[in-house]
């Protein structure tokens, strides 16, 4: 049985999700209670899938509550993976397969499944109470709710208990292995090896009864799939290997790649990192990862608040280290004043903003791209600084290196934008070699001869970076306007004009030190350019590729350097009849580009906390070209 080749799946007439009609990829969504271990299940399946040379992209989608009341719809945690035998750039639109470990998980997710798609249910959790908590008046298995889907009902709870019976574990511990039983079954469906997960369990639990019970559950799920009397119901699919570029690969999440990129950037700059941060979703993993990399000369500091995190990072930069801080929207808002001080004192600083959805607290675990205004324009007075955005988990590595390079070369704070989707998503990554990168060593000034704290490099306009402790170079800096050159306090009107102009010129000049804007796919001029930035890369690129295949005159432009923009970007946009910005906000890049470009630009805008889908971008393209 092959799930994804049935062309009728794309023909739904009632607004149901349309199939991507891809014969070379599958979308699976795991869903259950937030205590069911769904993220671990998804992560392990991703790992096994990657080791099978399938390409993949993942989308963990979990609630803000750590353990919401069990069985409730708002406590549902999900993990979606799209994998295939061609390069996969998004976690997929509609799932081909939904695994629902309780009624609430079914309730929240079933309508997104492709009509005709497969739903696997744990019937052991379909008691009256759970149905009620999920908001089902009648058991959806009996009233026709699921008639458009193929369902497989398995009492996973009971089978897990059965499999773990021989081991000395409590019933509660045994039931926790439900996710591994499920993983075993899905591993079987797609021909995945259990080895990596077994190693993972052994490493985590050692030689304990829990370890043995977990492995037994995993194997039992796998064996269940193999068993003759049921295999007729459960489809088994084998996708071919992707022809990846040769080299060594791993799975990487955005948070990992970004953290490692920062470390790599500091190595290339030849300075140690002081990373100061305050816990906030979805930024915290960066702090966790870096705190384990002290042997790379990384010092981490969990500050008392977001303000202190930014200030202490700036203090570290003042001593000649690479001060870095990270947060998400609400925390970035608090750091704003310290960033202004970094701009005024012209010290390097990298600020990572893992964007999340909504103003104020918003939707902390959901994704959005709505901090563009905050980062480009969100400071008191005229306070320019570079803003970069990463487009995918692996791209976080490159962008983080670039952020460190610009910060140290131009003596400026730099914003590095990621988002909740990129941070948590994982993708196969061709592991780079450090020898492929050109070092950009920092040179701290030590020569007292003619020293002035606010003299400038002819080319970059950067001021000298002096480490306190350097003999003969004592000087004072601060947030009050400084006299050009000497840096002494100055209230002179002409000097303020001059210094403001210099600070602008320094940042504007970076446009000549960054790669020219390229076109990702499609022609360099034509009818329609779809412009994106950040994590919308995958869906836009896939949508444009499909539309090109259908003969549409459309191109994809994806912006990494948001400020300053690449020098050729404006001209490039003028070479298209129409420009469409697709982004996950109410039109921030749209407004920004209109202001810079002075031409009509339209937007495809969405703020529902979910990544853009390929289909909606395709529809947006059609709407403009089918006129």
């Amino acid at each position: 049985m092959n799930l994804q080749t049935d062309p009728s799946q794309g023909e739904s007439s009632d607004g149901a999700p349309l199939s991507e009609a891809d014969s070379d990829s599958v979308v699976v969504r795991f869903a259950g209670d937030s205590g069911d271990g769904i993220q671990l299940l998804g992560g392990q399946f991703s790992q096994a899938t990657a080791l099978d040379n399938n390409s993949l992209a993942t989308f963990p989608d979990f609630p803000a509550e750590i353990r919401a009341p069990t069985g409730t719809t708002y406590g549902v945690s999900a993990f979606q993976i799209k994998f295939g035998s061609r390069h996969i750039r998004t976690s997929g639109d509609a799932p081909d397969v939904l695994v629902a470990l309780n009624p609430a998980a079914l309730k929240v997710n079933y309508e997104q499944v492709l009509r005709g798609g497969l739903i696997i249910l744990d019937t052991g959790s379909f008691g009256e109470r759970n149905l009620k908590k999920a908001g089902f008046e009648v058991d959806p298995r009996e009233d026709g709710t699921l008639k458009e889907y193929r369902t497989i009902e398995i009492d996973i709870s009971a089978l897990t208990l059965e499999a773990t019976k021989p081991f000395d574990v409590t019933q509660k511990e045994a039931l926790r292995a439900k996710n591994l039983w499920t993983l075993g079954l899905v591993d079987w469906m797609y021909g995945r090896s259990l080895d990596a997960t077994e190693t993972f369990i052994t490493r985590k639990f050692g030689d304990s009864a829990i370890s043995q019970a977990n492995i037994a559950a995993l194997k039992a799920g796998h064996a269940y799939g193999e068993t003759a009397e049921v295999s007729g119901d459960i489809p088994q699919t084998r996708l071919g290997e992707v022809k990846f570029e040769s080299g060594e690969y791993r799975l990487v999440s955005g948070a990992e790649a970004l953290s490692w990129g920062l470390v790599a950037g500091c190595k290339l700059a030849g300075i140690d990192m002081t990373f100061c941060s305050y816990p906030i979703t979805p930024s915290s993993p960066i702090l966790h990862i870096l705190s384990r990399l002290k042997n790379f000369g990384v010092t981490t500091f969990q500050a008392e608040d977001e303000i202190a995190a930014a200030c202490s990072a700036l203090g570290a930069s003042y001593t000649g280290k690479m001060g870095i801080t990270a947060s998400s929207g609400p925390g970035i808002a608090l750091k704003t004043e310290a960033i202004g001080l970094a701009i005024s004192t012209e010290l390097p600083l990298v600020i990572v903003d893992t964007q999340r959805a909504g103003q104020s607290t918003g939707l902390p675990t959901k994704t959005e791209q709505s901090d563009l205004f905050l980062t480009v324009w969100g400071r008191n007075a005229d306070a320019p600084m570079p803003v970069l955005s990463a487009r995918s988990p692996g791209d976080c590595f490159e962008t983080a290196i670039e952020a460190v390079r610009l910060a140290t070369k131009y003596m400026t704070p730099v914003f590095l934008l990621s988002d909740g989707y990129i941070a948590n998503a994982a993708e196969p990554w061709l592991i780079p070699s450090m020898s492929d990168y050109e070092p950009f060593p920092v040179s701290h000034r030590t020569d007292p001869e003619g020293f002035q704290p606010f003299s400038r490099d002819d080319e970059t306009l950067a001021r000298p970076w002096v480490k306190p402790g350097t003999p003969g170079l004592m000087h004072r800096i601060g947030g009050i306007e400084k006299a050009d050159g000497s840096g002494n306090i100055s209230y002179d009107p002409d000097n303020h004009q001059l210094m403001t102009d210099l600070r602008f010129a320094k940042i504007d000049g970076i446009a000549n030190d960054i790669p020219a804007q390229t076109v990702e796919s499609g022609a360099e001029k034509g009818k329609l350019a779809v412009v994106g930035w950040g994590s919308t890369y995958g869906p836009i690129n896939r949508a444009v590729t499909r539309m090109l295949a259908e003969g549409y005159d459309v191109s994809h432009i994806h912006i990494r350097h948001i400020w300053p923009l690449p020098a050729n970007l404006i001209d490039l946009l003028h070479d298209f009849d129409e420009v469409l910005v697709a982004e996950m906000n109410k039109g921030q890049m749209l407004t920004f580009l209109r202001s810079q470009c002075g031409r009509p630009i339209e937007g495809h805008l969405k703020v529902n906390g979910q990544p853009l889908t390929i289909h909606e971008v395709q529809d947006a393209i059609r709407a403009r070209l089918d006129k």
């Binding site: 042997n295 202190a308 570290a316 000649g320």
Partner: protein, 340 residues
């Protein structure tokens, strides 16, 4: 340390920058600046290894007048910036200069954490019980009833005592001095600098423009001897023009009282000996207020504990013990696969 050779002995003026000092004539800050410059010279400090960090306020202009490294930061955040400086380079001698609004109002949170972490900096709080730079509003240390532009009918806020706050934050070194007492301030600065950990120093400072004579009831020469007690570790808590006043535990109560030796059967044996390592005593001493009790000055509490930045550094060094990390190996850690 950057200087290996024995440097020539520096004088106070060697710590003065070429910038014109711009406090109001008669401001207590002038005297403090002189005392700091003199102390640094006396303790043999190296200008290039010394960093002054400040926030915002009149006191915060301090770094500009010091021929050392200086960082004038933003309102209330000096402790956070200084923490970053010290964590990133523990070899620097870091001083923070702050005021009562900067340290205890907008920056109260940062000061709390600087002190409880025990970051090895000297924190000088210039307390004039008023907002000077913004033209005279009441501050968190202003006395209740203080009339100011923002409290024309008098402040209804209960004030905080700076040293009591610092003790509550688990500071390991607490001292108090008065702007015009240069010698005593010098002794305090020397002790503060020697103390490895966060050293909190409250300096009673007169704002001649907006809160003149706020402390006159114990700083005026005519009353000073009867209203001030200069505490010294291991010595009896004795004060007064005739040296016959003292502090003892009030019989039958857990509180201090000021007594006169030779009166009401009080003998010198009744007077407490100052123990700067005694936290309970420190709490009682910092709370003494004239006119009922003399104000406690000098090193009130000093009970060192390991400093924060050294502990941070130790973890980094322990992690480096087996050699520096290899970036290429890190990127290849965990499960990888090769496509040929």
């Amino acid at each position: 340390m950057n200087v290996q050779v024995e440097p020539a002995k520096l004088k106070a003026k060697d710590f003065a920058s070429d910038q014109e000092v711009r406090w109001c004539p008669g401001c207590g800050d002038y005297a403090i600046l002189k005392a700091v410059q003199m102390s640094l010279a006396n303790m043999g400090a190296q200008p290039d290894n010394t960093v002054f960090v400040s926030g915002i306020g009149c006191a915060a202009r301090f770094p500009y007048y010091m021929e050392t490294y200086g960082f004038h930061t933003i309102h209330g955040r000096a402790p956070a910036v200084a923490s970053g400086v010290k964590i990133a380079n523990p070899e620097l001698d870091v001083w923070v200069v702050s005021g009562d609004g900067d340290a205890l109002s907008i920056g109260g949170n940062h000061l709390l954490h600087l002190l409880r972490r025990n970051v090895d900096v000297q924190f000088l709080l210039f307390n004039n019980e008023i907002y000077g730079l913004t033209k005279g509003q009441y501050s968190p240390t202003s006395q209740a009833g203080q009339k100011s532009p923002s409290t024309p009918q008098g402040s209804v806020d209960a004030p905080i005592d700076a040293c009591t706050f610092a003790l509550g934050c688990n500071a390991r070194f607490i001292a108090r001095g008065i702007d015009i007492q240069a010698k005593q301030l010098g002794d305090i600065f020397t002790r503060a600098q020697e103390h490895k950990g966060a050293s909190f120093v409250e300096i009673i400072q007169n704002c001649i423009v907006f809160n003149d004579d706020a402390f006159a009831h114990f700083t005026e020469k005519s009353v000073a001897k009867e209203t001030q007690i200069h505490v010294k570790h291991g010595e009896k808590l004795i004060y007064g023009a005739d040296g016959n006043k003292g502090i003892r535990i009030k019989p039958g109560a857990f509180e201090l009282e000021a007594v006169t030796i030779g009166e009401d059967g009080v003998t010198e044996d009744d007077i407490l000996v100052h123990d700067e390592t005694n936290r309970v005593l420190a709490n009682l001493l910092v709370a003494m207020k004239p006119p009922e009790m003399p104000i406690a000055l000098g090193v009130i509490y000093c009970d060192p504990a390991p400093s924060y930045e050294r502990a941070v550094q130790a973890q980094v060094e322990a992690s480096m013990a087996n050699g520096a990390g290899d970036m290429d190996k890190l990127l290849r850690s965990g499960n990888t696969w090769t496509v040929s």
